[in-house]
Subunit: 203 residues, 2 copies
């Protein structure tokens, strides 16, 4: 017997940032001229996110590269939003695009946008970055520390990942406040919080 | 002068399927025992999506692998939702996870889930698939036809992409209704519709 799917299929979903983030940002400046300060904000949010039990230890921000204007922030929301795509970079990119009403942050009528993240993006977010129109990536680090310390799997991103970005007009800077970012990963590990990434269960 | 960001930052966003899809699915069965029929549905939706001007020529469905129950569908919504992450696979995976209230479609209390897509995923959706808990991928094709015919960029996914999935317990089947999928890409090209992917503008 064939039954019809009728109204059972969902046709929309919402993703959100945790409630604490609005209060946290209200006391912060709208403009961040220093890239180091931008990273300090992102690393701070990455630590707050797991300590407040609102997601994994990851955060990202979209800034206007030259002025430093903060366009959006994102934190990891996988477990709280029941969405494995809700990584910090996807949240920040999507919120920036919605705010600017543009699916292309590299559109000609917009200033140059920069994504600041507390570690090298996973393979999904690497692709999300490419499609976003972002023209500058700044990460605290890109070595094995994230996976080694936390146990998260970041996916099969090859050693040429920087070249793949640069070939598409995206500049990459790494090593900004790396020790601060690593400390968050250590704190996360020591907290015993959930490593939600399901790929470790593969046979 | 430092100004505070106050209420200007957005903290939530919604993604949705186009209005025509609900009516389209109401007349369809809830259960799809044949993988070929599953692919036929996905290819049909991929063509409808660009012809109805609701997004690019891409669609995906999440099915229970054994029973064939349709859990969710997704179509590309990049331009209409102003979100470069709103690829068909991200939509289908996220809607399935929301419906099942689980960020892990591979959770032990759930049946095995399969993602059916009208071509090999781009590098972002490749990662999204890995993190989703999906255990089976079926694509109509994985060769250069998509990029060659449409002009879309699918990103620097290496030749070992299948191995990367299989190493994580995700089986891959390719070549199902390939010619039907390619025909949609040709129709898309001939329609003169927008190739929204901004990466082609890299220097």
């Amino acid at each position: 017997m064939k039954t019809t799917s009728k109204t059972s299929l969902m046709t929309r979903f919402e993703l959100d940032l945790p409630g604490w983030i609005q209060a946290e940002l209200e006391s912060q400046p709208a403009c961040w001229p220093s890239e180091s300060d931008r990273m300090a904000l992102v690393v701070q949010l990455s630590g707050m996110n797991f300590r407040k039990k609102s997601g994994g230890p990851f955060a990202a921000g979209v800034f206007e590269k030259n002025s430093g204007r903060l366009v959006s922030v994102g934190v990891n929301r996988v477990t709280e939003n029941n969405c494995s795509c809700a990584h910090a970079e996807v949240m920040a990119i999507s919120l920036a695009q919605r705010r600017l009403a543009s699916w292309d942050l590299g559109a000609e009528n917009l200033p140059t946008h920069q994504l600041v993240v507390n570690w090298r993006p996973c393979i999904m977010c690497y692709g999300a970055l490419i499609w976003s129109g972002i023209r500058s990536l700044v990460v605290a680090g890109d070595g094995p520390q994230l996976e080694a310390i936390t146990g998260f799997d970041e996916g099969p991103l090859g050693p040429d990942w920087k070249k793949g970005l640069e070939a598409r007009g995206i500049s990459v800077k790494t090593g900004l406040l790396q020790e601060d970012a690593v400390k968050v990963f250590r704190d996360f590990r020591d907290s015993g919080a959930l490593v939600y990434n399901p790929s470790r269960r593969a046979p």
